[in-house]
Symmetry: C2
Amino acid sequence: MAYRETSRVRERKQATRTNILTNALALLNEVGFGGLQMATLAQRCSVATGTLYRYFPSKEDLCTAVFEHATEIEIAQVQQHLEAPETSADGLPAADRIADALTTFAKRALRAPVTAWALIAEPVEPAVVAARLRYRERYAGLFAQAIQQGIRDKTLPPQDSALSSRALVGAIAEALIGPLAHKSEFDPNQAITNSVRFCLQAITASSYTDSDTKG
Amino acid sequence: MAYRETSRVRERKQATRTNILTNALALLNEVGFGGLQMATLAQRCSVATGTLYRYFPSKEDLCTAVFEHATEIEIAQVQQHLEAPETSADGLPAADRIADALTTFAKRALRAPVTAWALIAEPVEPAVVAARLRYRERYAGLFAQAIQQGIRDKTLPPQDSALSSRALVGAIAEALIGPLAHKSEFDPNQAITNSVRFCLQAITASSYTDSDTKG
């Protein structure tokens, strides 16, 4: 009779996987992707290194899974602030929800700078760069929805939401690279305020007109 | 007597290196980093594959050098538009120079989309990601200078130029990822206009105020 995985086996595997990712995320917050060692992680998880490799065949696989795990947590935070309350008619205007979401993103990043650097900027293997691209699409999709709502209810000026939302994601991520990489040169609260202001001005301001941009 | 490299040997080596990088850049524009093959490149350069490896010991080394070579060309274009003419008192205001520089960057990207994707977004080896970080600092430094000039001559509102300049670089690069990755969904000229407008509004608009960003 062929081996069939029982639901109990599946649950146990899932629990081990979750344990590994939780410990990996804690380790990431200390040493970044560059310092993540399979042997150290195995020790933290109280599993054999061989077990770790059964779940994640390579360090690149592990890093990708850790990236996705960590970013899902950040995405959920952003999404919570962006989503319009469906039960109430007097929700915050789209611009304010976007400001809240960006502020939350920036605050969380500067509170966990090693993890934020790892997720946003650290030189990583191609599979993790590919995951960064996918998740930036996810972020942009969420911001695009909020921008569209703002345009519909006329609290935001007309704009290409697909383009503005990507630019927002790029702007907030890159703005934080300064404070993350050169901590001493930036006051964290000022950095958060200024990054969010940059983004909000970009999507709320009346049109900048310059004939050169039409060329 | 120990071998000493004569200036003629050095010149010949430099010429070979330049020949390799020029051909690599042409190849990059066809296939991106993912499609760059040492054997194909050697053939294009009319050198043995072994020779190629003497100049670039690994594909990662080659890709990093190609990235730097290509980005130096783009940086020079941006710099040319950003620099204030020193011989004339009636130069363009900083905001217009920044708009010109961003427009040039975006136009050149959409005109060479495979190269632009490779430079901006393609999943690449860690050494190339590290080069991306370094060059984004270079771009940001150039924009920061222009923003500071704008603040000094009061054509731009006061702002943290180190932060705004990074956000600009992030915004323009990420905005172009949409048109580069999903070409059919974007009109290139509209994408250029809208990306530049986003950036200009961010640095020129009067302050967006929202108590939540101060929290």
